[in-house]
């Protein structure tokens, strides 16, 4: 997403806080609470008070709680889908799918919690007779960091928001969560928050396990991150917003980790043999990927790289033919639409950028018109701004003269969530040379697909080097996301009575390393 979008939301600070219908730009429904410092304090105090209780409940209870959240979300039924459609402008099928993904994530983490491998249990038994010194008994487990602040994204009002991946993984780790609800979908957020609160109550957990703060201002989120009881932050949104939270977190008396997923243009390399064999088909497929969901994906293909030639011409011609048929789609918010238009205008007006094609002009207040541009490798390398994200259905083709120039453009690119290679078998040698570059640039490398689908799985990485995220050592999607909210503690010579149950000699059923070997 773009900085301008965040700034636009901030300007609404002075106005009443209402839900906005994306299609009309008009407020609908009752106003929502505008929370302030006292609410932040109360939510953090409750989260802190709940932490020791919540982290100590047995894993089965925690897993059942996560599943219960999913059940409560499903039980909301039609009103949730309707609210999300109205607030986001996204179509029903997409939101029903996203709801399934949200519930699926909660189930995935329930399974992760039950298995317990995330605890990273290690035991190095004592060696009382070792020379010259005895070895103590050492046992290690991961413990949750403490209360976590979660900032959802506007582009996934369910799967990356109130009960999205960050909330699910932090709750799975044993951390209470305080969500700063996204002001672009307050109704959706409040419905989901209610589901979580019901699951908390039904599971007999302290209320502070989940807090929900609403309001249109960025200051509300800043106050939440400054609160000394918050121990980590999950964020999906703009680069400006993410970096602002990182700065606040680092300026605290006790700095805390911020996991901000920020901006990515997701380079797609169109390899020579693939272009030769199916340039036109790739061009058509590209347009479909670019325009899906009005291009409002973190993994939207915003940058294409290819070597000049007939295959590339076929690709460009096919895209030029397909794009004008792409319907304008309502974007998430007026601010995001404005930022998109500005980004597209800047590219369209750039001296060294050619406009290949545009999509249909929209009629609604916030409908995005897709855009496909081209430039040369030399120009791209000379102007950093050409590598900036334009959140929405806009993409830039970089025409390269050679494989060397293509590798040079990739090497100069910023960190990315994904990097894609469209290739045929004859491209394998060149692809093998590019992969070490791509590994250093992206969290996920794809062949012969489009980056927009992000599978919720064990082997998924939805993360990547800065500025794709603020911490490329982690993922925000998939089971590995639980690791972000944990830290190791070692216990030396503790009696069984004082050891955590899973580290006692007689504990069973949770994977452990004994002297570094699986046991």
């Amino acid at each position: 997403m773009t900085d301008t979008a965040a700034a636009t939301l901030d300007r609404s600070e002075a106005t009443a806080f209402r839900s906005i219908d994306s299609a009309t730009g008009q407020p609908v429904g009752e106003p929502f609470a505008v929370h302030g410092p006292a609410d932040v304090d109360a939510a953090c105090a409750a989260a802190e008070a709940a932490f020791d209780t919540y982290r100590a409940i047995d894993r089965e209870a925690r897993a059942a709680f996560l599943e219960k959240i999913g059940e409560e979300i499903m039980a909301i039924g039609e009103p949730l889908i309707e609210a999300a459609m109205r607030e986001s402008g996204l179509p029903r099928a997409r939101l029903e799918g996203e709801r399934g993904r949200t519930v699926g994530q909660l189930k995935l983490f329930a399974g992760v919690v039950r298995r317990g491998a995330y605890l990273g249990l290690r035991i190095d038994p004592a060696m009382p007779d070792r020379q010259p010194l005895p070895r103590p008994d050492l046992r290690l487990r991961m413990i949750p960091l403490g209360p976590v602040a979660v900032f959802g994204a506007s582009n996934f009002p369910l799967a990356f928001s109130t009960a999205g991946g960050d909330t699910a993984s932090a709750l799975a780790a044993g951390c209470p969560v305080v969500v700063k609800g996204h002001p672009a979908h307050p109704q959706t957020g409040e419905l989901v928050a209610g589901a979580i609160r019901r699951a908390v109550a039904a599971s007999g957990l302290p209320e502070g396990v989940f807090g929900h703060l609403t309001g249109p201002s960025n200051e509300l989120g800043a106050a939440l991150v400054r609160d000394p009881r918050i121990q980590a932050v999950g964020f999906t949104g703009s680069r400006g917003g993410g970096l602002a939270l990182v700065q606040i977190a680092q300026g605290r008396k006790v700095p805390i980790p911020v996991y901000a997923e920020m901006s990515s243009i997701n380079p797609v390399v169109l390899m020579p043999e693939a272009l030769k064999a199916r340039g036109a088909a790739l061009g058509t497929a590209f347009v479909a990927s670019l325009t899906m969901g009005a291009g409002q994906f973190c993994t939207n293909p915003g940058l294409l790289l290819a070597i000049e030639g007939e295959g590339l011409d076929a690709f460009v011609n096919a895209a030029r033919e397909a794009l004008p048929g792409a319907a304008a789609q309502t974007m998430l918010t007026k601010g995001i639409h404005q930022a998109y238009d500005q980004g597209v205008e800047a590219l369209a007006g750039h001296n060294h950028v050619e406009t290949i094609a545009r999509g249909q002009v929209g009629e609604g207040v916030a409908q995005g018109q897709a855009a496909f541009f081209a430039t040369t490798a030399a120009e791209f390398l000379a102007d950093d701004t050409l590598g900036h994200e334009v959140f929405g259905a806009s993409s830039l083709l970089v025409r390269c003269q050679s494989a060397e120039e293509l590798a040079q453009v990739l090497s100069a690119a910023e960190g990315q969530l994904t990097a894609t290679i469209q290739m045929d078998e004859g491209d394998t040698d060149l692809a093998a040379r590019l992969i070490p570059i791509l590994e250093r640039k992206a969290g996920r490398i794809l062949a012969n697909g489009w980056p927009t689908g992000v599978e919720v799985a064990h082997a998924m990485v939805h993360g990547g080097p800065f500025p794709a995220t603020s911490d490329g050592r982690t993922t925000s999607v998939g089971s590995m996301a639980i690791d972000r909210f944990l830290r190791p503690v070692s216990y030396q010579n503790l009696s069984a009575a004082l050891l955590p149950a899973e580290l006692r000699d007689d504990a069973q059923g949770t994977p452990r390393l004994i002297d570094g070997q699986p046991a």
Copy 2:
């Protein structure tokens, strides 16, 4: 270590750069190279150039290289021990033990590399028939971050320096290392660097796998951390030094992680029943732990907590009796000795601090006189400075009126590397109440020992919440330290020819998760 110590080293920037004999304070031997910006650039360029080659060599070759470093260190023989003794003032037995630890760490990481569990391999096979959408083939592994800058500590001139834990774990991960040699032991550092260089050559690796920069200034290290090719930093030293590096790393165009181990006063809780049963014995044992190695351990017991009573009186009396017999010991550097004296004088002159006992007065130029102080919980809670580290053999007892007050002092303490409970069986209930507090404060919790020994093991955590370290999610000692220099990459639908060997279907011998289950 203390900020003053770092500042003192900095003042030597203008003078010739020679090795200093700790016992005499006089320079000895030939001058060492004072490296500047061109050397930083050359070392980083070489490290960057070596990275892709080094990370791609097979794991057996990398493990053998780590072992070869150990062999080359042992092959230096007596000159290494003599140099380290002269430069650090530490006794022979301690340094021979530390050399064994250093070589042992390299062997441990060789084993970690051979097993390959650190790669975190995960495979989620494709489900082409899944509805509504097929699932792609997803495979994940951890890859090394890139060139790593390592800053050694003066208090462990072998095990936490040139070929210490940070270097060993980064090399094990597949990262080239550029060491900024500690100016307090340049001769020791250069001997070890030579051993690593010989191992690099003997293993047929590019020279850039290991770089060694020497010089007395902090600016040299700052330039190294600013270099865009450096991807992570390992540091052991003062809070001021660590925070300065964190700030530089965060101010880069692309921020990088800094693993700084900084300051810790390692609270020891003397529990009521233990004091009742063996207060005097604990007092004597405490003095032995406090004064070992002139108290120059990151895990030195600098803070004691106990509830007033006869048992505590016996403890204090025994310590008061034992400490005056503790010989003064040469400290690592004149600067560290000066900082120690200043810290001790501040406590001795504090209105609300009682001096229980002092050790023997030293005769050499940098001999530290041990010190044991006491204050009340109320005073400790009222004055933050009483919780600051005094690097050396100085400790402060906090007298508490009740278990509640003791818990309050612990809760108010900063993050620590360790927390210790001296307890008997009758203390178990109270200990169980304290452990959740200690877990949030420290990386390692010990019962009935002293924190100074840090075992190199799989279940060790030498880390802890800020300001003990800059990143409490990791450890700098033990096999888990390799994780600090890795990040995950996911491969989607890549052909076998393009997949890393260990992720191919036919790969064997490395632990993997298939669909989240060990296979």
